[in-house]
């Protein structure tokens, strides 16, 4: 699993600091405030002659290099820095915590907009927190200044990002301004967009490539509302979907598969085809074994091998209706062969892994593998394909 944070001892850092990692000296001192120097560089000598204007320096060793000027904020004794690359954006807290906000070499960059949520999904991998965390917004806006313009895709997640209201739109507006080539994927439960004004507000940004990923867990309120633990959520989400569609905002339907959702999956597929044929795509996802799942394991766990009938019927019926269907988080050895063409290697690289059983499997490279969190509990039917199936 990819490492995303580390810790060291900070000197001269009084408030949270966001910057872009560099191992190459920046010639123009006026630009240096955006950069944090990674001292593990062959250019260290060049840096030492002129460190003026950089926002901080990262050092792995236990003590400060003797040649380091005194005026620069630093973090030393950092346990590890190998995971950082030039162009990554990190945040340094006065406590010495170093967190990666954006990894230049990854296709899975996700920005946590808020930890607050108006739902409480049984299987939530990011359990909501009630506290006001709007302090994130200026950090995010600063982050957007620093992200590489070539970034192919950004995910805005939560919590429920729409709870930010106008702040969410400010972030999306800035994305459109700063990152004109970046696809934006907003993960929202869509409930607040039942207010058509919000949907229209989003549409006025005219983002060149934004899609809202919205979960729908059943074709009926009683199941959906139970899964998200919120009465009226089904109704609000559908009103939201329609408001967004009427405003011309592209939407994606996301379904997490578990014991509460698999039974009516074929009916849900038909409901989507009949009522939401305008969705850009439908994503059927294996459950991530993370967060609240553990608390609700008995209600949620089902071996994926047991829902292959329903998954096959739902997938093929959506596909024959002309809808784009994607299967996430399913290992090929538990996925019926007819569904392989729909399977996508979707797990974010930093959460992705394989288990010992996978050794020698000839389709491993095609297979999505596991969430790191799924290593402990997974299908009983994981097995390697020793020859091409």
């Amino acid at each position: 699993m990819q490492r995303l944070h580390s810790r060291g001892t900070s000197v001269g850092i009084a408030e949270l600091l966001v910057g872009k990692v560099t191992r190459e000296p920046i010639a123009d001192p006026r630009l240096r405030a955006d950069y944090i120097v990674d001292s593990r560089t062959a250019n260290w000598g060049a840096f030492c002659t002129d460190l003026h204007g950089y926002s901080a320096v990262l050092v792995t060793g236990p003590s400060l290099p003797e040649d380091l000027p005194k005026h620069v904020p630093i973090v030393h004794s950092i346990s590890q820095l190998e995971y950082l690359a030039d162009g990554d954006v990190i945040a340094i807290q006065p406590s010495g915590n170093v967190n990666v906000l954006y990894r230049r070499n990854s296709h899975h960059n996700s920005i946590l907009m808020t930890e607050r949520c108006n739902s409480l999904c049984l299987m939530c991998s990011q359990p909501p927190q009630p506290d006001d965390d709007s302090y994130r917004v200026p950090i995010i806006l600063r982050l957007l200044d620093l992200i590489n313009a070539e970034c192919p895709e950004l995910i805005l997640s939560g919590g429920e990002p729409a709870l930010l209201g106008e702040d969410l739109f400010a972030v999306i507006e800035k994305c459109e301004r700063q990152l004109p080539n970046t696809t934006l994927h907003v993960l929202t439960n869509g409930r607040l967009f039942k207010d058509a004004r919000l949907a229209r507000r989003l549409a006025t940004i005219q983002h060149h490539d934004v899609m809202l990923g919205i979960p729908l867990y059943a074709d009926c309120a009683q199941v959906h509302d139970y899964v998200v633990q919120a009465s009226g959520a089904f109704e609000e989400t559908l009103h939201g979907l329609y408001s967004l569609a009427e405003a011309g905002v592209p939407v994606e339907i996301r379904v997490v598969l578990h014991r509460q959702t698999y039974e009516r999956l074929p009916q849900l597929a038909e409901f989507i085809y009949r009522n939401i044929p305008f969705a850009s795509q439908v994503v059927l996802m294996g459950m991530e074994m993370y967060g609240l799942v553990h608390q609700n394991m008995d209600a949620l766990w089902i071996d994926p091998i047991e829902y292959q009938d329903q998954l096959e019927e739902a997938t093929l019926s959506l596909a024959r209706g002309g809808m784009r269907v994607l299967l996430y988080n399913h290992q090929l050895c538990v996925l019926r062969k007819s569904l392989w063409p729909f399977a996508v290697k979707s797990i974010s690289d930093w959460k992705n892994t394989y288990i010992a059983t996978c050794d020698g499997c000839v389709v491993r490279e095609q297979c999505g593998g596991f969430f790191q969190s799924g290593v402990k509990r997974h299908s009983m039917h994981i097995r390697p394909f020793l020859q091409t199936p």
């Binding site: 409480l120 049984l122 359990p127 074709d219 009926c220 309120a221 009683q222 199941v223 509302d225 139970y226 633990q229 009465s231 109704e235 559908l238 009103h239 329609y242 009516r264 009916q267 038909e270 409901f271 085809y273 009949r274 009522n275 044929p277 967060g291 609240l292 608390q295 609700n296 024959r320 209706g321 002309g322």
Partner: protein, 498 residues
């Protein structure tokens, strides 16, 4: 995560109030099953005991059938506004064929023909061009009207008689329409309906250069085709097949389609007709009954047949087509294809003879060689028999507003809304069907028609139910096949719009 409270499923059940019905109709599917259809064409099959429980409002809220019926908008509970919003959107989607107004414009460029087909309603074997060819002036006036239509897509279809006998006018109309379209900016398409007997290389070069589709006629194997379609030399089939080959070489396979007319002779050999189409390299066949108009009505004894014979023919041909697909050859029956789209998709499927209100005038208009404008091709055939009831006006003497906004067209629309027609208003297959006020008038004497004695009604009731029985039958292959047909683009139906 301590402190989080999760509620059980019953906590989220709908209120224990009595559920209410949303609009739907129903009919027996077979001895044990009933099919329910809602206003947007979603259907649900269930058995009698469950249906009875549903109707008596005694279905349990936890019953999967309750959930099915709620999800498909047959029932709702509480004060939810959601079903109405979803239904309204789906209803609008299903009616999209109305949005563009008249998009198919048929030009009868000549009534002359070198064939004298048994069932043909209109053509004349004559060399009197002055009398039976459309004039340039008439064509230009008709084009004025075509471009007044607000439709984003305009399809101009050349018919006859034999359209190629007045090919100079076809060329002029194409040039003029293309020129007008430089300003109008519509999606402009051309189709020429022809028996291909007189087609030349020069004609095909023009047809290719202007991207014109060719729609021809093949009634079946040579003996049947030639018996149906007499011409000097008795070689209609041979000329058509040679013409198809030539046209395909010039234009490409997908640019040449064929239509079949079912006559009394056809009824004996559905399999042979299907095989003929297959052998000629077509990938679809449209099983159409003969139009009850004009000469066809007059020569009923020779060419006509009763409904039961046609349905028997249809079922045999469809079975044969299914078997052909099963053995690995892709082949579509077009009438089933368009009905299946209505049955199984949320999208609009306009077909002038099978929509509500009918497409007469609002989706199709016919400009006759003499400048008269008719609401449908059948309406002008009726006129050739001396009954000009459905003449909307004349391009030389009437304005666009008078022709396309006048009393007659309004009456046709009013008379063809199945939602309010006696016998249709409470029919389960209403959303899949339509009506043809011109046929009602021709056969039954008034535009509104009489369903209990209507062949149109019986035929469609039978075919729709037959398709539903197949879809919900034992054979999963048929369900798969029907979906494959739906995914196919339509071919071979010049009149199709959707």
């Amino acid at each position: 995560m301590a402190g989080l409270t999760f509620y059980d499923r019953p906590h989220f059940s709908p209120a224990a109030t009595e559920y209410r019905f949303l609009p739907f109709q129903f009919i027996d599917l077979d001895d044990t099953r009933i099919v329910l259809v809602n206003e947007v064409g979603e259907h649900y099959v269930t058995d009698r005991p469950h249906f009875d429980a549903f109707i008596r409002k005694s279905l349990d809220r936890a019953d999967p059938i309750y959930l099915d019926l709620a999800a498909k908008h047959f029932l709702y509970n509480g004060d939810s506004t959601l079903p109405v919003r979803l239904l309204a959107t789906k209803y609008r989607t299903k009616r999209q064929f109305l949005a563009g107004f008249t998009n198919l414009h048929i030009f009868v460029v000549s009534l002359r023909c070198e064939h004298s087909c048994q069932y043909c309603q209109v053509a004349r074997v004559t060399s009197d061009r002055a009398k039976y060819d459309m004039s340039t002036e008439t064509a230009e006036r008709a084009l004025d009207l075509v471009f007044r239509s607000p439709a984003p897509t305009l399809k101009i279809e050349f018919q006859g008689g034999e359209a190629l006998l007045n090919f100079e006018l076809v060329q002029q109309i194409v040039h003029s329409a293309e020129q007008r379209n430089q300003i109008a900016g519509r999606e402009l398409e051309f189709v020429v309906a022809t028996n291909l007997a007189v087609v030349t290389d020069d004609m095909l070069a023009f047809i290719k250069n202007h991207n014109i589709l060719v729609s021809t006629s093949i009634d079946g194997p040579a003996a049947l085709h030639n018996a149906n379609r007499p011409r000097p030399g008795g070689n209609s089939y041979e000329l058509a097949v040679a013409g198809i080959e030539k046209a395909r070489q010039a234009l490409g396979y997908e640019r040449v389609s064929a239509l079949m007319t079912t006559t009394k002779l056809s009824l004996e050999c559905p399999e042979a007709i299907v095989d003929e189409y297959l052998q000629l390299g077509f990938s679809s066949l449209f099983l159409r009954p003969i139009s009850p108009y004009g000469f066809a009505l007059k020569t009923q004894i020779r060419t006509g047949y009763d409904r039961a014979s046609f349905l028997n023919f249809y079922v045999r041909a469809l079975d044969h087509i299914i078997d052909i697909n099963r053995s690995g050859t892709h082949f579509v029956e077009t009438y089933a294809q368009l009905l299946l789209r209505k049955l199984l998709t949320p999208y609009a499927t306009g077909y002038v003879d099978l929509q509500s209100p009918a497409g007469a005038g609002i989706n199709v208009a016919v400009y006759n060689y003499d400048g008269d404008v008719y609401a449908t091709d059948e309406a002008r055939m009726l006129a050739e028999m001396g009954d000009k009831t459905f003449r909307l006006g004349n391009v030389h003497s009437d304005s666009y507003e008078a022709i396309f906004g006048g009393e007659l067209l309004r009456t046709l629309v009013t008379a063809s809304c199945v939602e309010s027609l006696p016998g249709c208003a409470d029919c389960a297959f209403q959303t899949y069907c339509g009506c043809d006020p011109v046929e009602n008038y021709a056969v039954q004497g008034d535009m509104f028609g009489h369903r209990p004695t209507s062949d149109f009604c019986k035929r469609n009731m039978f075919v729709i139910k037959h398709l539903l029985q197949l879809y919900h039958g034992e054979d999963p292959y048929i369900r798969e096949l029907f979906w494959r047909w739906i995914q196919q683009p339509y071919t071979g139906v010049a009149e199709y719009k959707g």
